[in-house]
């Protein structure tokens, strides 16, 4: 098993049923690994029976029993430092991914080439705000989806200020 395969198995183990994009962000945005062809690594590990796919909002990955065995074998040879770095990063990213569940940004593609987006803010099982918007290309959809977690609360404030301006209303509190 090479370093890249070990990195992906370790990421899947440390995160809970991660999506591919969560795996990539965890590995690369965190600086744990230099960027590599992770989609191909994921595909190879699945074909080898070390990972299995599930379905949630998108496709998720989990370790098979064989994958768990292979990971343990790989970790025997890996330095304790790597394991500590992964554990520390996983603690941070699990919090980030959990928080993102309250800020959902989904897009799809229609046959006429437009990209409907569905943006929402949730608090527990309540939907605080939902925005449906059409964008004209995938790059826009990706950029908006990526920024949604950081911009959602500001969007909500702006919408509320606009629709409630001068009406002497109390802003809804969701706890």
């Amino acid at each position: 098993m090479d370093r890249q395969e070990l990195a992906v198995l370790l990421a899947v183990d440390k995160l809970v049923s991660p999506t591919p994009s969560q795996i990539f962000r965890f590995l690369f945005d965190s600086g744990l690994e230099r960027e590599f062809d992770s989609p191909r690594t994921l595909s190879r590990l699945r074909e080898d029976g070390l990972l299995e796919q599930g379905v949630s909002t998108g496709i998720t990955y989990s370790l098979t029993e064989g994958g768990l065995r292979r990971l343990k074998e790989g970790l025997v040879r890996a330095s304790a430092d790597i394991q500590r770095q992964y554990e520390a990063a996983a603690n941070d990213y699990r919090v980030v991914f959990e928080r993102e569940k309250d800020y959902i940004a989904l897009y799809t593609e229609q046959s006429n080439g437009i990209f409907p987006m569905f943006l929402s803010i949730r608090r527990k099982d309540k939907i605080l705000m939902q925005v449906n918007i059409i964008v004209q290309n995938e790059a826009s959809a990706k950029a908006i989806a990526k920024a949604w977690t950081d911009r959602a609360n500001g969007t909500y404030d702006a919408v509320w200020d606009s629709i409630a301006h001068g009406l002497d209303l109390q802003k809804p509190e969701f706890s």
């Binding site: 062809d37 699945r46 074909e47 593609e109």
Partner: protein
Amino acid sequence: MPELKTCSFVWAADIPYPEESAILPPAGMRHIIAHDGRKDILPFLLDVSLAHHGGRLYAAWYNSTDAEICGTSLIRGVYSEDGGDSWSEPFVLAGSFSNVGRHCVPVNFFPCGDDLYALVTEMSGRNMTTALKLYKRQPGGEEVWTQISQVADGFITNTNPIKMDNGNWIVGGWTPRKNETPAFPVALISQGDDIAAPWRCRFLYDPLNPDGVRIRCPEITLHAQSGNIVAYVRNGNGDGPAYIYESVDYGSSWSEPALSPMPIAGSKMCAGILADGRRYLVYNAERGNFVRTLLCIAVAEPGSRVFSKVYRLFEGGDAALGGRGRTWFYPAKCEFGGYLYIGCTLQEADNVRSAVIAKVPLASL
């Protein structure tokens, strides 16, 4: 995208596929309007499903109150107690006019035990599938339907579940593209007759394989006989041939894809097996991207999985329906009483949509 082989079965190697002009209607076929969109206030209708249960022939579909999956979408149906000669007023099976933003799209019937059930997909917006839910018809003369459980994540089914001889039900499903996850088809498999419990999801292929197949709208229909399952998957990329997958273990694992040798359009198909063992496939003939003006049925000999005959079901303006016609698509099927009923959506030139049925004597196929 890998280079794919043509499927070695599906169409008989020693029989040329007929020219369109040589594809004739089955003798004695009748065309019926089950639900006339010209007499309805809802402009959008699609995805007819048929069933026969308790002496009633059911036809159901989804309506959207505005355009396709805009406003709200609900499942409505009608029934006939005289083999399709007359039909009830529409009833609501799932959804509600007041629930704007929630979409029930589409429905697929299946009988289990003494009861009639339906799978209904829910969406929060077009292509935003959220759940596949099980509904049950309550006993009695009224059409009262109750939601029983969620059986899977947001998969769309376009044809009826099939009971396999290992006791499990199987149905083809698919999910549209969401963010960077492409659309992909699956087989959903029940836990025996405990149909309210979650159905297991089996991938036909790895949708995230960088070298794999990409299908934009992989509507899927199945033939199931013993452990052998054949999946016909719509080529949603335009006017390419349908994809064929095969499983020999009750849908748990699947072959590499092959391409259909038949000129099947990029549109939903519907597969079935007659009570006498003859397989059939209902599909739009290939006439160009999104041209769905000829609906055909291919039929195999008993026990064979190779189609060798083709019949014309709907085309153009239909004299029996007062000249109405144009596009006939999204077929469904139901066999009973010596007939095969093929339902589909009729879309006329002014975009009015109706649910129509071809009533085909089995002896004529």
